[in-house]
Symmetry: C4
């Protein structure tokens, strides 16, 4: 089976997810700058979700980079991840529509949590298929970032019932955690490839 098509299909779906979110930002009805103000929460939600989908695309890259053979399990674990990511636009829209209301923040966190679980499953399946000594298995190591994200998502979801801003802060922290380039993984890949080549 063909890795190229798996990548192409995932890229297509991710490109559509990241772009159709903009359709939630409806053209304002008025004619003045002040008519843009109600769009502000939608715009902020859009930025956050854009970054999240960007992070997933970025990490998906690395994940499939070390992949040598595709099987049915990987295919479906990948579709499972895309499923949860495809729900991001709706929950982003809800969050923006109601200016970060408690329920919307909880739902957003839930979808992020399920997406990260789906990513974790895909990662596990790829590692078990590639072997524990594969480049990927070594590169991920203890997956501290992944664990920290999971905890922050759960904190964010629980907090959303008391204070929506704390959960907002949790989601932003997770995004920053992944946005700041992980030099270690990148270096690991480069050095690993050098070792293989030599």
């Amino acid at each position: 089976m063909n890795k190229t098509r798996l990548e192409a299909f995932s890229d297509g779906v991710l490109a559509i997810i990241i772009t159709i979110m903009i359709l939630e930002i409806k053209v304002p009805e008025g004619n003045n700058f002040s008519d843009l103000l109600p769009l502000f929460p939608k715009f902020i939600s859009y930025i956050l979700s854009f970054i999240y989908v960007g992070i997933y695309w970025n990490n998906h890259h690395y994940l499939l980079h070390g992949l040598s053979k595709v099987n049915g399990k990987i295919l479906w674990a990948n579709l499972h991840l895309l499923f949860w990511l495809s729900l991001i636009p709706v929950s982003t829209g809800w969050m923006g529509e109601h200016s970060f209301s408690k329920a919307a923040m909880a739902l957003y966190g839930l979808i992020l949590l399920f997406s990260s679980v789906a990513y974790f499953i895909l990662q596990k399946i790829i590692i078990s298929s590639e072997g524990k000594d594969s480049i990927l298995a070594k590169a991920i190591g203890k997956d501290l970032k992944g664990n920290a994200s999971t905890i922050l998502y759960i904190v964010g979801i629980v907090c959303s019932f008391y204070n929506e801003w704390i959960s907002g802060a949790c989601y932003i922290i997770v995004a920053l955690l992944w946005l700041i380039p992980d030099k270690r993984i990148e270096k690991f890949f480069i050095s690993a490839e050098k070792t293989i080549d030599s």
Copy 2:
């Protein structure tokens, strides 16, 4: 003619179909978790259709994998399949909008039936073009799954006039039939490729 573009175009269309279905799930108007409840049938329909499109993408993969040369007939048979699949989002939306009403269930089954017929035609054309001794022809064999699906679709459509839940069950069974990885085909391809290599 170029197989890569056929795959790329099909991947693009399938990626769009699987993702625009989410646009049928409109952002809820209220502000509470209870406002998500009316979305539940839409969500269930979305999951089912997501799995169906995923299955088609998956099988389409295998179908084109064994293909060596593309001709006009294959191109149009492929477009014919994409046509029926492109109707899945609308009928999914209808099914979700009216909580699996009888008419919506019948229409959904009809579109699944036509999609499977289109897939069958594409398969026939590819086999007749590749030859009866091709890997694909051998891998498909008696196509028990395909025949079982057709029967289940027809049962589902007929039952929808009496009881919509029976037809729902039929569509779910077909999805499960294909979701459970078909070890035989996968193994067949792997062993066939080994034979060719050696």
Copy 3:
């Protein structure tokens, strides 16, 4: 410059055009089969436009197949073609919404006419870039089909002011003209490639 990206981008745009047309077919509000009836003209329009976009994708394939080098002119002529094709969904929607009214039929014909002119320009530019002795130039020859299509489009547009069904017939005839596989071109390519290989 890179032919692959030109193809990939065109495939992407064509895949989106062919799929977003379905968004014009809104989920019916009622709960019965009879609620599907008003969708019938939309469905017919969708089929016709699906075939047209399919034909353009198919021909675009052949056109770029014989292309060896991409330049700025080709890039923009290609975007120009995609521009006119991107208007097909709106005019399809208008045609379906008003059950093939005279004005909608004229607009549809106009957009088909401009698309075919844009295709003709792209073809000219590619031939002038590849040389008159190129495979493409020989394969196209006198372009009888292209000329016949142009005449039929114009007849269709003019007739739409008197009788919308005649113009509908014109557009269907053009689609059939291109749908029926042009054995000559396909054979020409195959024999030309054999000559090159030998």
Copy 4:
């Protein structure tokens, strides 16, 4: 890391951006040609934005053409560019909806300005990664066009508060600046590649 996926993802997003703009042009409600008249400003806005996205796609091509290795910085600078470009459809829709009102013209200019800044950042990062002696660095040179565009965008934004037509003219001039093929860059690449080959 893989340049192909960066290109494929960008192509996907740009293809979606350029095509979903058409969704802002809603199917007219009436039945006559006169019902198309209110769509005229939307159509003009669509043409302008189509050309802009086309230019970005075209230039993005050249930018990545000379790229040999992708890193995290380039990936995020690219996503940053796609982010601003993804806002073009909404502001195009606003501009068309209110027939080029002052506020809409200012917003459109702002988004074009931010897009060009994002492009500039991406270019800087690629050059700093490839080295000052790279083909790209030499091809871009003093980037007169880029600087002229920035000035024209700012003039356009400022003027929009007094006269919306001047700002419209500014945006059209920038588009023409880039639309007219830049023979120098194209020639530079061709000669540079010849030098490398020999």
